[in-house]
Symmetry: C2
Subunit: 165 residues, 2 copies
């Protein structure tokens, strides 16, 4: 009886986390995909767009995959054997999302601050809105990563607890 209540609490808690992860990764994907701005610099018209940067494209793909995965898992019935696969896929998904956010953040940092040693100038000045947009996507993606990290830690700790009981 006590074990059943524990299992139910665990299910509700992880379901909640998965819904939040779906929201965060979906928002990250949408905000990144819609980030573009046109501007003039030294008389030259140019457009800043996420698709000009491979790291941002990777970030978008990671978050699209992450939100599709988070969505599908919501419909997996309890006591299904596929949950074993899900706990492995959770690890892979968390790593992919982490990697997407880190790569995009590294490039966004250069976009914001530049790198004088490499001669790369910051580009945020004339396309401030674009930079804010990308920043929002990164923040949302980071929240997605945090939620998946909590899911992983929680699943590992409750597995261990069940073993100890």
């Amino acid at each position: 009886m006590k074990l059943m209540t524990m299992a139910r609490t665990k299910r509700v808690f992880t379901l909640l986390l998965r819904v939040l992860a779906l929201g965060a990764t979906f928002a990250a994907a949408v905000v990144m995909a819609t980030s573009h701005e046109k501007a003039n610099m030294f008389g030259v018209r140019f457009e800043a767009k996420f698709s000009h940067t491979p790291a941002f494209k990777y970030f978008l793909i990671a978050n699209v995959v992450g939100s599709v995965y988070s969505f599908l898992v919501l419909f997996l019935p309890a006591e299904n054997l596929l949950w074993r696969l899900v706990s492995a896929l959770d690890v892979v998904m968390t790593l992919v999302l982490t990697s997407g956010v880190s790569a995009a953040l590294a490039i966004a940092y250069v976009g914001k601050k530049g790198n004088s040693h490499a001669g790369w100038l910051p580009i945020c000045g004339p396309v401030e809105n674009y930079c804010h947009h990308v920043g929002g996507a990164l923040a949302s993606g980071f929240i997605g990563v945090l939620i998946y990290m909590i899911l992983l830690l929680y699943s590992i700790q409750t597995n261990l607890k069940t073993q100890l009981v």
Copy 2:
């Protein structure tokens, strides 16, 4: 008896993986820390160094922390209660290493290919050795991440198996 053999096989296997992870993260840290080259471009002398790039510094820190952690865990006796903490720290460590490799790879890609939209020129031409050095560090760091991913997947799957038994 069978469970004891299983537990022992698991211990030997994970110990081996942890030694490999120590080697990979340590090599990544050393190779990154020693990467620098002096060159002339258009008559201007300049030096390429990992410490000029925040993402490479972060990669170095992540791999130093990763190798110290991998080293310390080797000396934790079996059946110690700290193993519960270790399985949580494994998750965090894997994410930190993944994030370090991804951020460094994103910047290394710009260093190699440049980004014409942002006006960032590739810098590898005159400092080819430096770029190869960084590439080696990234490869080693990536192997470290893979090993930690296998450790995580293995620990999650064997936990589940013990539950099912």
